[in-house]
């Protein structure tokens, strides 16, 4: 499932820690990236406090998604029937290759050579752009962030803010080279105006528009697309062909449920009350064709995994990334996965565990992701489950394995534990700090090794609680 735009990229096995270390080579950039994401997290908090019934909404959203997933076959067929009646053509794709083949087939049969796309992580996942480009179709991503990374031949580093890893000076360089803006001018208003002019021509000139789907309504057979820029709408309103590509987990039963998700989505993602445009497409325009492609690509496998099927509740708001202390300080590209961050680290190992075994370890298990998730996915618990599976499958380094084996032996033997504790405390007292730090490296690189406590918990317990409990028993 590696998406590629003909980039040099992605090592066969993703080593998150190594990639994060490369990102951390520039501490100023890490601090800046961290602050940019935390700013969005704070906007989310502000938006959430306005809604008194927030926790009830999360609970509802979670149970709606669980219900829909538990009857996904029925809802997909209901959707297909309603959408077909509305005049859409519904296609089914088992995997990325089949999705790409279907999309290309539609374009080829109409002689399309110019396609505009709005944001679709699914087509990133499927590697659609290189597939179409290799067959002579010019693909233009129209979401500003996605267009920027496309021009730089990079991947999005975030599912909602694809260019969050870039500084405006870097974007200015790209625009100067490719759009002819004045070199050195990096003011966002000027850059956005340049992109607007450039993309307006592409919209007016496009022969087909492809969009993602935020929600598909089973009862009415319609798709809902949420954007702020209006790029999906310009594509769809102008082009004679609209292709909507969606993962099968985007299904919801009806519009009463849609209200619940729309109240949660933008507030969780960017701290907005709603996106600027929430577009409901049920029928093509007169003379237009509407194709909806329903894609599995590993989702039914995830649905069958006891401990992981709830990850399919995800509505792709990005809140878990914005809040994750590891994501904020390692950058989206360090995950080597279309969907990075906590949700990516539970979804992507399900596609290829050997390749992505390091992702469940890209977490402190602090649970902040679970706390902000608008559909209450137990992300930290799923990360922990994947770790156990990765270890059992032998995908964890010998060093990490060895440490765990030793720790298990010590923790299972109270006397040995006490002995080693005593030895360590003595060592901490008498050894030079520099030697202690060297032994504790790399942990000690950014931290001081603490001084040993004057009394251990065991000693304290023996002195205080043990006698009292013994007293009670008498």
């Amino acid at each position: 499932m590696t998406p590629s735009r003909g980039l040099p990229v992605i090592e066969p096995v993703v080593d998150h820690a190594a990639a994060a270390a490369r990102f951390n080579a520039n501490p100023d950039r890490v601090t800046w990236h961290d602050a940019a994401l935390w700013f969005v997290r704070e906007k989310r908090d502000q938006a959430v406090t306005e809604v008194a019934e927030w926790e009830e909404l999360r609970g509802l959203a979670s149970s709606i998604k669980e219900h829909t997933l538990s009857r996904l076959d029925e809802y997909l067929l209901m959707f297909e029937s309603a959408a077909t009646t509305n005049g859409a053509v519904v296609h089914w794709a088992r995997d990325a290759e089949e999705h790409n083949r279907i999309v290309y087939g539609i374009l080829e049969s109409h002689g399309v050579s110019r396609l505009v796309k709005s944001k679709s992580m699914l087509t990133e996942e499927c590697g659609l752009n290189p597939y179409l480009e290799a067959r002579g179709i010019a693909v233009v991503d129209t979401d500003l962030g996605e267009r920027i990374v496309q021009m730089r031949r990079e991947h999005p580093s975030h599912i909602v803010m694809p260019a969050i890893h870039l500084k405006k000076e870097e974007i200015a360089e790209t625009f100067a080279a490719q759009l002819g803006t004045e070199p050195g001018v990096s003011d966002p208003i000027t850059l956005v105006a340049a992109a607007r002019g450039h993309l307006r021509e592409r919209f007016l000139d496009a022969q087909a528009a492809l969009t993602g789907v935020n929600f598909a309504i089973a009862e009415t057979g319609g798709v809902v697309v949420c954007t702020n820029e209006g790029n999906a709408d310009l594509g769809v309103a102008l082009a004679p062909i609209h292709i909507a590509s969606m993962g099968i987990e985007k299904m919801i039963p009806g519009t009463a449920e849609l209200a619940v998700f729309l109240r949660l989505l933008a507030r969780s993602g960017t701290g907005q009350r709603i996106t600027v445009y929430t577009t409901h497409v049920h029928r093509p325009r007169a003379g237009q064709e509407l194709h909806i492609v329903l894609v599995d690509n590993g989702r039914t496998t995830q649905l069958g995994r006891d401990g992981f099927w709830r990850s399919l509740k995800c509505i792709r708001c990005g809140a878990c990334m914005n809040t994750c202390p590891v994501y904020r300080r390692s950058g989206g590209h360090s995950y080597g996965s279309t969907v990075p961050g906590p949700i990516g680290s539970v979804l992507t190992p399900g596609i290829d565990l050997e390749k992505y075994a390091s992702l469940p370890f890209a977490s402190t298990l602090c649970g902040s992701c679970t706390a902000v998730c608008p559909v209450k996915i137990d992300l930290d618990a799923q990360l922990y489950r994947w770790r156990q599976i990765a270890v059992d499958a032998g995908y964890v380094s010998g060093k990490k394995r060895g440490a765990a084996v030793v720790a298990a032996k010590i923790l299972a033997r109270p006397r040995l534990f006490a002995l080693i504790g005593r030895a360590t405390r003595v060592a901490l007292r008498i050894l030079p700090r520099s030697l202690v730090a060297a032994v504790a490296a790399p942990w000690s690189r950014d931290r001081d090794v603490p001084s040993p406590a004057s009394q251990t918990f065991r000693a304290w317990y023996k002195a205080n609680r043990a006698s009292r409990r013994a007293g009670k028993r008498q």
Partner: protein, 194 residues
């Protein structure tokens, strides 16, 4: 086996035990009631980077004329009640001001609902540089639950909630108003009497 049968079969094999469909209407009926919906809507519009003009419906023509005086091509479908999909969508590319009326406004998030019958054509509301949306004070509802309870989203085949001028924060999280769609939005809030 074709892809459809294969995916449906895989779901039937994989899906978890049935989880009951939650009763959304009953659940949202217990949420706190919102008051001052008109004031909330107007305040929220202003926060979105859009402008609010308030007045009487009897003065609508003057209010609309004053909103963007002496501009380029104006397209008004404020009386529209039917769909005309046959016109070339590209013919609205040079629209300076587009004027339409929403069938409802949502107080909690300033969204105005524009079904295709109120837009007449799909493209102008996205292509125009400036957009004016008339919202009737009597048509403002508290939240999206109330909105969807009254809407038939499928009826015109197309409908959109608009909540501000187009915008982006894709460059260093700096908010820029006017991304690919309209660079300005004016909400004209009128009372019900014609």
């Amino acid at each position: 086996m074709n892809a459809r049968e294969s995916i449906i079969g895989a779901i039937r094999d994989a899906k978890p035990a049935t989880v009951a469909r939650p009763d959304v209407r009953t659940a949202v009926g217990r949420f706190p009631q919102r008051t001052n919906v008109i004031e909330t809507f107007a305040e929220s519009v202003a926060l979105s980077g859009a402008r609010v003009i308030e007045g009487k419906r009897s003065q609508l023509a003057e209010l609309l004329a004053a909103a963007y005086p002496a501009r380029g091509r104006r397209v008004s479908v404020v009386e529209a009640v039917e769909v005309d999909d046959g016109v070339s969508p590209h013919s609205f590319a040079d629209t300076d001001v587009f004027i339409c009326e929403a069938t409802l406004g949502v107080a909690e998030n300033r969204a105005a609902w524009l079904p295709l019958s109120r837009l007449r054509h799909r493209s102008a509301v996205f292509l125009a540089t400036n957009v004016i949306i008339v919202v009737d004070r009597a048509r403002i509802v508290a939240d999206l639950h109330e909105a969807y309870a009254t809407l038939d989203v499928a009826i015109d085949g197309f409908g959109v909630f608009v909540a501000g001028p187009s915008k982006t924060a894709d460059i260093e999280q700096s908010l820029v108003i006017g991304a690919h769609g309209p660079t300005s939005l004016t909400i004209v809030l009128v009372d019900g009497a014609a």
